[in-house]
Assembly symmetry: C2
Homo-oligomer: 683 residues x 2
């Protein structure tokens, strides 16, 4: 019955695809060019420096092995992107290289400390290219800018004449990786370090223990991984390799051992640490659980002293994260000994007990010359100012802590596991552009970290949750907080996303791969057309839609293939908004073209869904798409003519819309545009 | 002028793309189903076993950790492919698992020896699934067959009732990986070991030294990698990890240290080993070079004794490859001391000198309980029968050696770096199906190895040269030599190729990624349509077309993105052949549809090429395609009507065809179909 009614909306459109020869390429003349992050200062006096096979690299004066290697990789990437057979061997400061056209000069080896100088000046002129920096890390940042400057015309590849003076806005520009909830192998870490370096990020926060897994070898306590890792953990050799790989890219690596909660996997091998007798096994579910360390036993501190001393020796960074979040008091309350200890020691409540625990841990870290980092919860009255608070709770907590003299980093608003759109993260500032804070407080706001929690991702899908959105977050951390043009950010992001694939990232290429598995090898084009406009449900909705996820659940369904911030939907919805406002003919044509594309695809899409049981769950989205594609041309007509919907039709429409909801934990993202059309036609 | 003439051929075809709903999926009823390799014996009595979330795995009786882990991975892949939330933790032989519907039983732990039992029986019936094997390796082979048996219909996923008895035809089913000429990182090795296991391959030949790189850490001689590897080599820890990873999949790993030639990279750190004083540095060019070890100095053998003893301890396999190929005598001839040594020791010529060298090496290996493997060249009269000859020269050498009592493996015809089509490798047999050899000689022919030489591949492109073609080679090694249906092989290969992506292989997904880099992020569809019908030139032609390749050349051009054995071209050419023979109307329609597709794409293709200088080199292919797309409809018409070309037109056509050649080291593969049409229309 519904179908018969909406048949009235149907409009047959003959459609010939035309190639839009103009407008395919972004105009490079805008001031930000294709650079991401946007530099502090850039001038383009006009003119081009042509790239040829003679474009040789040389370091002037002293150099470092890591800078030579970095520059060599940049040379190869430049050669790869342009196809130029540049025959230079390794880049170095060799005196024999007289004719180098690209010279790099820096004053000293950078040190992996917070606030190290990462500034650089890059000049392109008729004479060649010159990169100057204080440290080799600064030179690395400039090398990435150089690659982003490459442009092309019919004559070949070139660099525009340029004068760039650049330095970071924040000192701490991080990505947190969680290989605990789902295991992330070595190569995932390495390729993402490469991606981070491309985006001038400088710190990897390595979340190494969780209820669901303890992921680093301890030689002192081998049972931690023997019983707590399913065999999936980093050996100490691998950790050293990761730290070196990161250091060679100017990236600090610091570990997080989340205590006293989030520790079930520890207890699988060491139940004696827990507040309840156990036995314990690796937690497979998601959530906040009861198991928690016993903070009243000296043996707990002896254990942590040995472990953290071992780990402090492994990680040269001056920071050490102890987690401290989401501690449930239940097991403490149920333990008589713990209750007695609290009474005997005048510890008022479980909050105070955690504070006591933290202070004991602080001593262990101080003994090892480490500064403590923790989530909001570790902030308590008598903690020293040297600790760093990582704020997951929000800006209010961040501002309060920085005001009280604590160093802070912002993660609230950068939870990239929650499938929010890029603009949301991009417009989230550690220091808002419209606030003025006392200089001292400003100084305390070190920067931020994107956090890639791994409940719902595997090695196959994780990159698509990190990239390209984290490139925009990296710009937020590097560029001035006055850089806020969302549309221009999206323009550049498309280009940068392709460049990020150069270092092997999966964010783009695993999407069709996953669709191929879903169809067992059939042509994926019809399915792709639908999944292109689906997104995973946002925030924590995936846990709340009738599917019980665990660590063992497959992450290969449509919801896993679908990616945050659908470009097709975003652009369609924007066109709808534009049409409602300006009613331009070319916008109408583009909208109709897109709608006809979806309609024409419907038969093939239905066949694919019917043949692949794993796709059944998104069948309702296909139906919805079919119905709204029948309706939208009529609605667009009505908007164009200024007509309004009759009360009858409106009622039927509202009835239809009230039934729309997520299916297969995905959302149909063009409903926004559809709803806008309905609103525009509502009297 | 040419264009004006060929305009006569132009036929305007209005083209509406229609969705071919039927025929999209392969019929699963053929006897080989979707299995690759084809099992020795398979029956399908009819009926289905439905897969549900209760499909639990259990090992009966004793088990091994590696089999448990393998079965757990298979369980996850099954869950991933079907979307079933199977909540089973790790697979094991736990007694508590009463309701397992898939039971695995094997008699003993397999041993990584040539000829180890890899047979298995797999039964699917109403009662569930049963896998039986002699060794855990046999069970692993059966687990892969299980995954390939998964089928689907509108009700869901199922396994067909089946009774499979399977075992390999050859004992030695290998892939040689060369991380020397271009560096291949850890993850390349691991993901390809996974691919090998899927295809029931059982040996990885690890080519670890070359003129262009020495790729394994020696603790005894650290200068080998310090000066000979550009920092790219496997640590001994990594080698152990690789060997374990392979063993866990029933794959032997044995090393090759190519001596006395192909050793320039050794000499960079150890010039004292060479026959000329040096100094030496890593060779960047490709070819066969002069540097060669000095076989007359005792110090050479002392060095090799220490090194090979160290390496023999690292690799538990009983085989050890010493290369021995392509030794140039020039440096020996030019060295007076060597000439004197030959005279003093009655060594007739440089051939005999290498024989002397090999015998000295043989002793070192024997002392370490290793059996020698070498290329054809090591075969000389008084070598013991236990050595294995790897034949790169051809079947004749292979048959001769096996007749003389030597063990042999075939690599000639399996050089997958040479971009030959799958059918070529597939129809190449170690033991031809039409020969009968004495049983003893048959026994000597152990099997074969696909060899992935790395002059022209990087980590980015290497998988596309290995897969999917090596899956067909793996079938050649596992299945009976009576399995020879090329068409059916291609049908199954398409399905298997998608499954191979499950373990992270790049062969399919890096293709569009590389096209994105070539276009700098523009829509790749127009370019893809052309590159889909291009292939790299075959054999060693890439070295001979005016471009001087070295180790430093970019491997990111169209020729690198293009892949061997173009499916689109193969199918188009086959349709042309079919049309010429049968003149069916539907074939004509399909041909015209394809031709119109190419024609319609031409404008967009030209724009993309003109905007991206790196694409300029394939511009002639676009022009050729445009011209032949104008001509082919008319030629097809002529074939249909039985008309022939006039002498004038024929002359012009021959003139045109005489100018066609490779561009950018790629070939336009549909020229075969075009030429067939011309031939059919030639009086």
């Amino acid at each position: 019955m519904k179908r018969r009614f909406y048949g009235l909306f149907l409009r047959v459109v003959l459609f010939f695809s035309t190639i839009l020869v103009g407008g395919l390429m972004a105009q490079p003349d805008v001031i930000t060019r294709d650079l991401m992050p946007v530099p502090a200062k850039a001038e383009y006096p006009g003119g081009e420096y042509r790239l040829t096979t003679d474009f040789l690299f040389k370091v002037e004066g002293t150099t470092t092995e890591r800078l030579n290697a970095y520059a060599t990789r940049v040379l190869r990437r430049l050669s790869g992107r342009t196809g130029l057979f540049i025959l230079q061997d390794d880049v170095s400061n060799s005196d024999t290289l007289q004719n180098a056209q690209f010279t790099i000069k820096f004053q000293r080896e950078g040190s992996l400390k917070v606030g190290e100088d990462e500034s650089y000046n890059l000049t392109v002129s008729e004479q060649g290219v010159r990169l100057e920096a204080v440290t080799d890390f600064g030179a690395m940042r400039g090398l990435e800018t150089l690659l982003q400057l490459i442009d092309k015309d019919e004559e070949g590849y070139f660099l525009p004449f340029a004068k760039i003076e650049d330095k970071p806005f924040y000192k701490w520009r991080g990505l947190m990786i969680d290989p605990c909830r789902h295991w992330m192998p070595m190569e995932m870490i390495l390729r993402n370090l490469d991606g981070m370096a491309m985006m001038k990020m400088n710190v990897m926060h390595f979340h190494l223990s969780e209820d669901q897994g303890f992921r680093i070898e301890s030689k002192v306590f081998p049972k931690l991984t023997e019983f707590g890792s399913d065999g999936n953990y980093f050996t100490q050799d691998q950790i050293k390799q990761i730290i070196k790989y990161a250091a060679d890219r100017g990236i600090r690596v610091y570990p997080e051992f989340d205590v006293p909660g989030h520790t079930t996997a520890w207890f699988a091998g060491h139940p004696e640490l827990a507040s309840q007798p156990g036995p314990y096994k690796i937690e497979r579910r998601w959530g906040v659980f009861g198991p928690v360390m016993d903070p009243t036993k000296e043996s707990t501190y002896e254990f942590l002293d040995k472990l953290f001393t071992e780990m402090a020796g492994l990680f040269p960074d001056e920071y050490f994260h102890i987690g401290g979040d989401e501690v449930k008091p239940d097991h403490w309350k149920a333990n008589q000994d713990i209750q007695k200890f609290m009474k005997d020691n005048n510890i008022a409540d479980e909050h105070a007990l955690q504070a006591y625990f933290n202070k004991r841990i602080l001593k262990i870290l101080q003994k090892n010359n480490k500064k403590m980092v923790g989530w909001d919860e570790i902030l308590q009255p008598d903690m020293p100012n040297e600790i760093v608070i990582q704020s997951w709770r929000g800006k209010k907590a961040l501002l309060q802590a920085s005001k009280e003299g604590y160093k802070v980093i912002l993660s609230n608003g950068y939870y990239i596991d929650l499938s929010q759109p890029t603009w949301f993260h991009y417009t989230n500032h550690p220091i808002s552009p419209d606030t003025t804070l006392p200089a001292e407080q400003m100084e305390n706001i070190l920067g931020g970290e994107a956090t890639m929690w791994a409940e719902m991702v595997s090695n196959e899908t994780v990159d698509s949750k990190i990239w390209p959105r984290t490139a925009a977050i990296a710009e937020r951390f590097w560029s001035s907080n006055q850089v806020n043009d969302v549309e221009d950010m999206y323009r550049r992001l498309d280009i940068i996303s392709v460049q990020l694939e150069e270092v092997g990232l999966f964010h783009e290429k695993n999407y069709p791969m996953m669709l191929r598995r879903l169809t067992g090898g059939e042509d994926i084009a019809p399915l792709k057309m639908l999944v292109d406009i689906l997104e995973p449900v946002k925030l924590y909705e995936r846990h709340r839609l009738g599917v019980k996820y665990t660590q063992l659940s497959p992450l290969t369904r449509v919801v896993d293939a679908s990616r945050p911030d659908s470009k097709v939907a975003r652009e369609f919805n924007a066109l709808v908004e534009r049409y409602i406002e300006h009613k331009e003919g070319w916008v109408e044509e583009k909208l109709i073209e897109q709608i006809v594309g979806w309609s024409t695809n419907m038969t093939a899409l239905k066949v694919i869904i019917s043949r692949n049981p794993i796709l059944e769950e998104i069948q309702p989205h296909a139906q919805t798409l079919e119905v709204i594609c029948e309706m939208m041309p009529e609605l667009i007509d009505m908007v164009g003519d200024g007509r309004k919907l009759s009360p009858d039709k409106l009622k039927l429409l509202d009835d239809f819309r009230s039934k729309l909801k997520p299916f297969g934990q995905t959302e149909l993202m063009i409903l926004k545009g559809f709803n806008a059309l309905v609103t525009a036609c509502t009297p």
